[in-house]
């Protein structure tokens, strides 16, 4: 796929954030800057405790940075509340709502006419193989099915940016590959921009167009990799000749030893 350069959709400029506790303030983000382009698929990786989830929450508009700018399509904004879709490791389905009602929560908040919203929801449920489960409660479904419902809930709202915080890490490998495929296809179909926060290098390389590596304390952008893998399926990407090169380079960035060395 020939890539002509896309305009920047979201720019983070010199974002700083610290949290205070009894021992004093802890600087988590020390001046973070990077761009996300239109229809980008960016993964943010870094060692645990590097503030990946803090970045995520700032972009989502759940946290205010101490300083720095968030520029969305050329305009400085406080956060992207209402513009983002949000998926976490926990499926975050409301247990007291049926599958259909869970999917409808976004349209409901957006005051969409119920009949129209319902029709759209049923279409999505059919597409993703959940027809017949619309009146089931989440606790009756498997983990993979629940995460599919969460994905539909994210897509139906037509968000500008989809934020994913290790959405598949609690699932078994098969289900996970399947859902990665579903996600990639959906992103292609609906032309979405995705920001994926993960500690899983394998997943980051297989899915992303670019990988942002965070490091240091407080953390900063250590390096940004452009991932040039043509395959558009999770399994295909993993068998791409470039895959293992990126994989090892990123392991190196995170100081993960990929061979057992004699001490």
């Amino acid at each position: 796929m020939p890539t002509h350069p896309m305009p920047t959709q979201l720019a983070l400029r010199n974002i700083r954030k610290s949290f205070s506790n009894k021992q004093g303030a802890v600087d988590v983000l020390g001046g973070l800057s990077f761009d996300i382009k239109e229809r980008d698929f960016v993964s943010i990786i870094g060692p645990s405790g590097c503030g990946k989830t803090t970045v995520f929450n700032i972009v989502a508009g759940l946290l205010q940075p101490d300083s720095g700018e968030i520029i969305y399509r050329g305009q400085a904004v406080d956060g992207l509340r209402g513009k983002v879709g949000y998926m976490m490791q926990r499926d975050l389905l409301l247990p007291w709502r049926t599958v259909l009602q869970n999917v409808l929560i976004g349209p409901e908040l957006a005051k969409m006419p119920p009949a129209q919203a319902r029709e759209m929801a049923m279409e999505y449920l059919n597409t993703y193989g959940l027809a017949g489960f619309e009146n089931a409660y989440p606790r009756m479904l498997s983990g993979g099915m629940r995460q599919r419902v969460a994905l539909i809930r994210t897509l139906i709202n037509d968000p500008d940016i989809i934020l994913l915080d290790e959405p598949f890490s609690a699932l078994d490998y098969q289900t996970r590959l399947y859902l990665e495929g579903v996600l990639m296809e959906a992103v292609e179909t609906f032309h979405k921009t995705v920001v994926l926060v993960t500690h899983d290098i394998d997943e980051a390389v297989a899915l992303s167009k670019r990988v942002v590596v965070l490091g240091g304390r407080p953390s900063q952008v250590k390096k940004i990799y452009d991932i040039e893998i043509e395959a558009r399926t999770p399994i295909g990407a993993r068998s791409d000749p470039n895959f293992s090169g990126y994989f090892h380079a990123l392991c190196g960035e995170l100081d993960i030893q990929t061979e057992v060395r004699a001490a």
Partner: protein, 284 residues
Amino acid sequence: MTQSVSVSKSTVPDARRSPRVLPNLDTGWGRTILQFFAVVAFFGIWEGAARMGWVSNFLVGSPAKIYDALVQSAVSGQLFVDTGYTLFEAILGFVFGTAVGSFCGLALWYSPFVARLIEPFIVAINSVPKIAFAPIVILWFGTGLVSKVALAISLTAIVALIAAYEAAKEADSDLQALLVTLGADKNDVFMKIVIPSTLPYIISTFRINVGFGLVGAVVGEFISSEKGLGHMIFTASSLYDLNTVWAGLFVLMAIGFVLYFLIDLVERSLLPWRQASNASTLRV
């Protein structure tokens, strides 16, 4: 069905099961039969002991005479008047107390500042045995219906308030964050997350509060009243009519029992998602 022979396609190892000699009584019918026999045995022994003179008829009464007292009271119609009156007081107290308490407890979710401010006062009020307010309540609200309802409210409201407030505080913050990213405001979060996730806890206070509603009504009647089961029990005991006292107590027990099951029905209809489980229970 004492023995299951042959066609054993079960893969469950039998080694650790104790050999079955008795029929399985842990079924609906089995339990009912056992419970029925327990009740019959209890009253049988009581009646026997009273007739044989092992226990004092005067101090303990006897089931046959309790039955006589019940029938007599029922025939005169007084039993139904008293039962209806107490039931009415208890239900009014339960409904108002639980509603007001739950409402205030949920409302505290809106302002953590106010909640922290009044927390010690709630603890203080809760630590007084509410029944000790009874004399004041009677002075303020008179000897009629209102004072009993007020007493029942004072007992039930605080239980509901604390339960609702604690549960609202614990409402899942990830779910709230999700709603906020979807563009929800505070009222949306309250209506769509806080209330539904608090509901099971509020409903579980119903069970406790139905009992407290009856306590408020009966204690109020003990102190001052002209009718009601509390009145019936209190008057009978001052006349040393133990059988009528027992009759009143058994009617109270029956009321509590029925109310408890009604709440079960309410719970089932309000929380359908809690029943939706086909997971089997673990057997150890």
